[in-house]
């Protein structure tokens, strides 16, 4: 039997030419991505149920910034009130739109529950399988949240100041890279479950770091001495970079952010493969 046809393979994979698929590098991940994407399209209504939390969060921040900005046209850290609210809406859109279970809960559950023993023997790299699955999940969620953010923003704040439609493709690229970098780092953290059984508490800390420092404020609002430090963290590439380009697009800033994102992604992937390789050596399977 072809290794690709082992038990547990998604149904759609079984219906295609697996032998050929396994020989073409990357194609199996594209098939996994497509299968998850199609599965998630069935649950679009469920995803929409999460809009309430996003709306509450944005509503609170609109009220908060309305309170803090006391005079029209006032600038805080170089941002107008509209820019500041749009910044939060964009970072939260990325956060809510990419906040799916695959990279955090599933990896930890697979390792804790022993399911990893089956998955690591499949003809794919487990970490890339999770990444493909995750990409399939957010490919539905993120556009839905982007649409919601655009509607709420237009209704409650007004248009993004200085927004040009021609810059949209590069902004989308920047958001996609940011989401992927975030996923890679979250997988790395989840893989620590090989050593400590449950890496969820580390996920909380990482999430809070991104949420508090990255999504709520732009980096410019922090003390000048701390700003270079934040630029070295994933915050710069995951939240700040994409949102900054959306609210205040500049060509030189765009090149800088994209370059840093590519470097970060390469380093993150290297770390992910290393942690996985070291981790599987620690795996004990207790029958079952």
């Amino acid at each position: 039997m072809n290794r690709c046809m082992k038990k547990g393979m998604p149904g759609q994979l079984r219906q295609q030419g697996y032998g050929e698929m396994c020989r073409v590098p990357g194609r199996k991940y594209a098939v996994i991505y497509r299968a998850v994407l199609m599965e998630n399209m069935q649950y679009a209504a469920n995803i929409a149920m999460g809009f309430f939390s996003y709306f509450v969060f944005i509503f609170i921040f609109i009220k908060l910034w309305e309170y803090i900005y006391r005079t029209p046209g006032e600038l805080i850290a170089g941002y107008t009130k509209e820019q500041m609210i749009w910044y939060v809406m964009m970072t939260e859109m990325i956060w809510f739109g990419s906040n799916t279970g695959a990279v955090a809960r599933q990896v930890t559950a697979d390792i804790r529950g022993g399911n990893i023993a089956y998955l690591m023997n499949k003809p794919y790299h487990y970490a890339l399988y999770i990444l493909a699955k995750y990409t399939g999940e957010w490919s539905i969620r993120l556009p839905m949240y982007a649409l919601l953010a655009a509607v709420i923003g237009a209704a409650m704040v007004g248009a993004v100041p200085g927004f040009r439609l021609v810059t949209l493709p590069v902004m989308i690229l920047c958001v996609v890279l940011g989401v992927t970098i975030n996923a890679v780092f979250k997988i790395c953290i989840s893989l620590f479950s090989f050593w400590i059984e449950d890496a969820t508490p580390f996920q909380w800390l990482y999430d809070k770091l991104i949420l508090v420092v990255g999504t709520v404020f732009p980096i410019e609002i922090f003390p000048v001495s701390l700003q270079p430090l934040f630029k070295l963290t994933p915050i710069y590439t995951v939240c700040y970079g994409p949102a900054k380009l959306i609210v205040d697009f500049r060509a030189e800033k765009c090149i800088e952010i994209l370059s840093v994102q590519v470097l970060y992604l390469a380093a993150g992937c290297a770390l992910m493969f290393l942690v996985y390789r070291k981790g599987v050596k620690k795996l004990y399977v207790n029958g079952g």
């Binding site: 469920n46 149920m49 999460g50 309430f52 939390s53 509450v56 969060f57 509503f59 609170i60 009220k63 908060l64 309305e66 309170y67 803090i68 805080i76 400590i196 059984e197 449950d198 969820t200 508490p201 580390f202 909380w204 800390l205 809070k208 770091l209 508090v212 420092v213 709520v216 404020f217 609002i221 922090f222």
Partner: protein, 264 residues
């Protein structure tokens, strides 16, 4: 009557105790969950330090009052998830027909259900609340008021979750709605009421019970007001009674899924 109440309370406490003991099988994970939850909560202070660099007050609150607000929210939410965690996932029990095993027990159904699970990381929330209270400066009067309002806050949050969960007796797909409402409530609880005006103020005081759970208690702890104090305690009792009535009304509509399940 009193003996029956005492026995019921003892059963509830034993249930919580065994829930915690079950989680302590892996002590490292147990302790890590608690400590990291406290650290997780502590990171939020960064946000407030930044905001107070911009303005001296946010919604009429100083840093000390925000810490009190956070402390009370964390302690109330934490205690409700330690003692009555199942109230937050009641919908799933109803939808999947898993209430059967509680119905055949000789003790109070609602209390047995609510105390049948404990969220361990919530211990970290509760302890974090106490840490923030002490960080605001120790004061005996405020300490006892804090403990009392943690109690009323716990009752209000649990009752609110219970009412939302009980809606599953009548409507389908309420679990996600309930979770969204509870998380929305927690989001509102961690920001000063002064930033909400007009409709949003009405919302946090009369639709989502945030005002009675934390805003009024923080105002009382800052400056005691007997009228407000009675309002908060009266509201907590009222909401608790309402939640119990809604649950038992709904329970009459419950139909078993013939699921075989043992509860030990």
């Amino acid at each position: 009557m009193l003996t029956a109440v005492r026995r019921q309370l003892r059963v509830c406490m034993l249930s919580v105790k065994y829930n915690i003991m079950r989680e302590m099988i892996n002590p490292v994970t147990f302790v890590t969950n608690i400590i990291f939850m406290m650290l997780n909560n502590a990171t939020i202070l960064v946000q407030w330090f930044i905001l107070f660099r911009l303005r001296d007050d946010i919604g009429g609150y100083t840093m000390k009052e925000v810490m009190l607000l956070w402390g009370l929210t964390a302690a109330s939410f934490g205690l409700s998830r330690v003692l009555f965690a199942r109230a937050f996932s009641l919908s799933e029990l109803i939808v999947s027909g898993k209430l059967d095993s509680y119905l055949v027990q000789p003790k109070n159904v609602l209390l047995s259900v609510m105390t049948s699970a404990t969220n361990i990381s919530a211990i970290g929330d509760f302890l974090y609340g106490l840490v923030l209270l002490f960080a605001c400066g120790f004061n005996v009067g405020r300490f006892f008021l804090f403990l009392l309002f943690t109690g009323t806050g716990t009752v209000i949050i649990t009752a609110f979750a219970l009412i939302l969960g009980s809606l599953s007796f009548w409507f389908v797909r309420m679990e996600m709605f309930g979770n969204q409402m509870v998380s929305g409530m927690i989001s509102f609880m961690t920001y000063p009421d002064g930033i909400f005006r007009g409709v949003s103020r009405f919302l946090v005081y009369f639709v989502i019970p945030v005002g009675m759970a934390v805003y009024h208690p923080v105002h009382i702890m800052t400056e005691f007001d007997a009228g407000m104090f009675l309002e908060v305690t009266g509201y907590a009792v009222f909401l608790m009674i309402a939640a119990v009535i809604v649950f038992y009304r709904g329970l009459k509509r419950y139909s078993s899924s013939s699921l075989m399940e043992a509860r030990m």
